[in-house]
């Protein structure tokens, strides 16, 4: 009993930070319809800044209060800059474009902090008294109560602002209808700006009060966005009180789960340690249950319909494109020096991951962030098959892809009643659960290390990276594995193109456009979605075992949640509704051909790559809200139409001349 109380009270600490960030998420969403993934990153910036100002980093040391003021101002500055430079130009774009842009901001902030302050983590200065309280005969640091008190007071203040000021009324009206807000005399831009100010100040405050729990480093606070998004989702991205309560609930729940893991009945893995990741699993399950109870299998009349994704034109000339692509691929694999060859192989894998997103997100409109995790499932299955059972190519990959499909179907089935950005958040919780419960587990995954994968061979032919044929430069990796990859990519591209041309693909696009009308046309919406999840998971699984063979091992780090987000970004930038978009997405993916080229050309590396990557991501989304392939397609259509019009004009003139 004592212990229970102790862990509930300890959980107040994480609960406060989650609640505060959740509040900022909801405020931002209500103000501008953006799910801002970078809010945790603003807390991170604040934490670094607070440390720097209190420890003579800039050559001066401020007292606590002035330091807090400067930190809050800098957080607000970060918020305002991202509002003006990124979100405002994207105001009328799809929610997915905004999500991708916010990921760009997150990466940019992370890289900036790492370049500025180095990779060693810093101690955030403590702002609360160090007292220890005695409650029920246990000792609890007073700072937990201070943290909770600060968040509760801020929440009440924010609540009061929304309830009683003209700005608050306008925001509440605007989240229903922008016209109402204009009637109240505030433009959507102003509203969005004020909400951003509030949210970024709040995020900054969380970076300061998190001192007892977290250090200033490039991940801890950034990752608080995941439970905070879960809390915001419980609140339907609208209710401030529910977001705060859910935030505290998640923090306390996680603390209790930690307590449970110390008890004797708790399941353990090898070495007697408790199973990892049960907290993430619990959050995911709770989210799914809560949303399934609330959601309907079809949207109801008048339910908000989100902005459309880019159009998905019917692909033409499949055989010709496949032949050209294949020929270029073979030549490059043979000719390119080893560094570029490896980058090309990683690009091929990236293309496969992007293709899986084309099916589920591009065609069916389901923003699933789980695809990279499904690839991981397949990769680990391949590794465990060979290590535990001695089963290798091709049965391992087949089993891996099937395992990816099974897990994908579980995620998909649990998300049937969830749509739009909510779906993105649920699948994000799913990714974290799979990562922490599955990949990081010694039982199913690889713990914190890697799990080896033997190179593939078929009928005595070595198909692996060490095959005897070594291309023109004679170095590793062998192009042979690249040929295998290339064949897979071409086959999957053709499959996805065929899907778009088939009745099934048209059903997918019908579901994407309007689920109610699709059902009225006799389309079984749930079946179409499940089919799409199965196909897309199969494709993702293929990418998983390609990774496994490429690196000769699998590890949790390669399938983490930031990488999952990054791939959505690559796929979106390339063009998430088109096969050619997936090819572009793969070329620009991390460690792929294009980044490798820039690295070689400009000699940049490490965190600079991260920074440039983040900035390029932002610029590309703003320039091509429909993806590079989409923009190219539209330009070509426009010039075709112009040419047709010109032809008609010449013809008419010619005829006029004849008569």
């Amino acid at each position: 009993m004592q212990d229970l109380v102790l862990f509930v009270l300890l959980g107040l600490g994480a609960g406060s930070v989650i609640a505060g960030i959740a509040l900022a998420v909801v405020i931002t969403y209500r103000g501008s319809g953006i799910i801002n993934l970078a809010i945790g990153a603003i807390s991170m910036v604040a934490a670094y800044a607070f440390w720097a100002l209190r420890s003579d980093f800039f050559g001066i040391t401020l007292a606590t209060v002035p330091a807090i003021v400067v930190v809050m101002l800098s957080s607000i500055l970060v918020g305002v800059v991202s509002e003006l430079l990124v979100f405002r130009p994207l105001r009328t774009s799809s929610p997915l474009a905004k999500l991708v842009a916010s990921l760009g901001i997150l990466l940019t902030l992370q890289a900036t902090m790492l370049l500025w302050f180095g990779s060693a983590s810093k101690q955030i200065p403590n702002v609360f008294p160090d007292d220890i309280l005695q409650i029920f005969d246990t000792s609890i640091p007073a700072n937990r109560f201070w943290m909770a008190a600060v968040v509760v007071v801020i929440s009440l203040a924010v609540g009061a602002v929304y309830r009683w000021t003209r700005f608050g009324l306008a925001t509440r009206a605007a989240s229903e209808n922008e016209v109402f807000a204009m009637l109240a005399g505030l433009s959507p831009n102003q509203l969005s700006m004020v909400n951003t100010l509030l949210a970024s100040a709040l995020a900054g405050a969380m970076g300061i009060i998190a001192a007892p729990l977290a250090q200033a480093d490039s991940t801890t606070l950034v990752l608080f966005i995941v439970p905070a998004l879960a809390a915001a989702l419980f609140a339907g991205f609208t209710s401030l009180p529910i977001a705060v309560i859910a935030g505290f609930g998640i923090g306390i729940g996680q603390s209790l789960m930690f307590y449970a893991s110390t008890l004797s009945w708790f399941p353990t893995e090898q070495g007697g340690n408790p199973l990892p990741g049960t907290q993430a699993l619990l959050t995911f399950v709770l989210l799914v249950v809560a949303l399934s109870l609330r959601g309907a299998s079809l949207p109801t009349r008048g339910e908000l319909v989100e902005k459309r994704l880019p159009e998905a034109p019917r692909p033409k000339h499949l055989a010709r494109s496949a032949a050209v692509f294949g020929a270029i691929g073979v030549v490059l694999l043979v000719v390119l020096p080893f560094g570029y060859r490896q980058a090309l192989m990683l690009s091929l894998i990236g293309m496969v991951l992007c293709l899986s997103l084309v099916v589920i997100t591009g065609f069916v409109g389901q923003v699933s962030l789980a695809q990279v995790a499904l690839a991981g499932v397949a990769g680990f299955v391949v590794s465990h098959m060979i290590v535990d059972a001695g089963i290798g190519f091709p049965w391992g990959p087949i089993a891996g892809s099937i395992a990816g499909v099974v897990v994908g179907l579980i995620v998909g089935a649990s998300a049937l009643r969830v749509r739009g950005v909510s779906l993105a958040v649920v699948t994000l919780a799913g990714v974290v659960a799979i990562e922490q419960f599955g990949f990081a587990s010694k039982r199913w995954g690889a713990g914190s290390a890697g799990s080896p994968v033997e190179q593939p061979s078929l009928l005595g032919f070595d198909l692996g990276t060490t095959a005897s044929y070594r291309g023109l430069d004679g170095k590793l990796p062998s192009p042979v594995l690249g040929f295998v990859f290339l064949a897979c990519v071409i086959a999957l591209c053709l499959l996805v193109a065929q899907i778009r041309r088939s009745v099934l693909g048209q059903q997918m696009l019908a579901v994407r456009a309007n689920e109610r009308a699709a059902a009225a046309a006799g389309i079984n919406v749930a079946r179409v979605k499940i089919t799409a999840y199965a196909i897309s998971s199969f494709i993702a699984g293929t990418a998983g075992w390609m990774y496994a063979y490429n690196f000769g091992s699998v590890s949790a780090a390669r399938f983490g949640f930031l990488i999952a987000l990054a791939f959505v970004a690559f796929a979106y930038i390339g063009g998430i509704t088109m096969v050619s978009g997936a090819v572009i997405g793969g070329l620009v993916a991390t460690e792929g051909l294009v980044p490798h080229f820039f690295q070689e050309l400009l000699g940049i590396s490490g965190n600079w790559t991260l920074l440039v990557g983040g900035l390029i991501l932002i610029v590309t989304v703003i320039q091509n809200p429909e993806g590079v392939a989409g923009t190219t397609y539209r330009k070509r259509q426009a010039s075709k139409r112009a040419k047709a019009a010109a032809d008609v004009a010449t013809e008419t003139m010619a005829r006029a001349g004849e008569s």
Binding site: S502, V503, A510, A518, A519, A520, A521, G522
Partner: protein, 254 residues
């Protein structure tokens, strides 16, 4: 012959609002049945109920088969096609593809065959429906390139392409000009006479009373009159309820 569509005691309430109360309605083979009533009378909600989009009490049978508990898509596949008051076309598909997804529901095996071998032959219903509304020229356009009136027609053609046992049209002529509306009425009558019984909801009294075989009038979710166009036109409660509010609307529009 069995009644094509038969609704018995259909009621829908949203919280405390009784949007549809105990409505009985039959569509017989070869019939065009009109459903009219002032704004907010519950016409759309009635169609939502019989097509499975809102939970309801009462029973719905289609061609003698009870479809009360079925999901929207299975009601559609059994032959109850509907359109929407706000046109809900699939903007990402061409006109022909819009009709295709309504007309063709390949099995898993057929889908696999289509992906890996040969295309599925297009159902005749698609060409017939395009022809019925003279939309052949627009078959490869996307809905965003069409005029409002054309979009309305595509919506109806899509419902027709499935070769339904019964067609339910929710305000198909709203937004059409007088000329288009008359032409639409003529097309619709032809469709019914060629064998597709239809339930027509519309605001345009002239259109509905002019072409229907039978008319049902709703007010506050209840049936207040039910008979031939002639009977309904002279029914005092209809004149009071519907024509009265239509007159109000006219004055409001001034």
């Amino acid at each position: 012959m069995t009644t094509v569509l038969s609704a018995r005691g259909v009621s829908v309430s949203f919280g405390g609002v009784h949007a549809v109360v105990d409505v009985d309605l039959d569509v017989e083979p070869g019939q065009l049945v009109g459903l009219i009533g002032p704004n907010g009378a519950g016409k759309t909600t009635f169609v939502d109920a019989i097509s499975g989009f809102v939970p309801h009490r009462g029973t719905v049978t289609l061609d003698g088969v009870d479809i009360t508990g079925s999901s929207p898509h299975s009601r559609a596949r059994r032959g109850l096609s509907r359109t929407w008051q706000a046109i809900e076309l699939f903007d990402d598909l061409t006109v022909r593809e819009n009709l295709t997804v309504a007309a063709q529901h390949p099995s898993t095996l057929a889908t696999l065959k289509e992906l890996f071998a040969r295309p599925i032959p297009l159902s005749q219903g698609i060409d017939e429906a395009l022809e019925a509304f003279a939309l052949e020229e627009l078959a490869d356009a996307t809905p965003t390139e069409l005029t409002q009136g054309q979009r309305k027609l595509v919506g109806v053609a899509r419902a027709l392409a499935a070769r339904p046992k019964c067609l339910c049209l929710d305000e198909p002529a709203a937004g059409l000009d007088a000329h288009e509306s008359v032409a639409f009425g003529r097309h619709l009558r032809e469709i019914v006479d060629r064998g597709t019984p239809t339930l027509l909801i519309d605001h345009d009294m002239g259109l509905v009373l002019g072409i229907s075989d039978h008319v049902v009038v709703l007010e506050f979710g209840q049936v207040i009159a039910d008979g031939t166009p002639g009977e309904v036109r002279s029914d005092p409660s209809v004149v009071a309820a519907y024509l009265g509010s239509a007159a109000d609307e006219l004055t409001a529009a001034d």
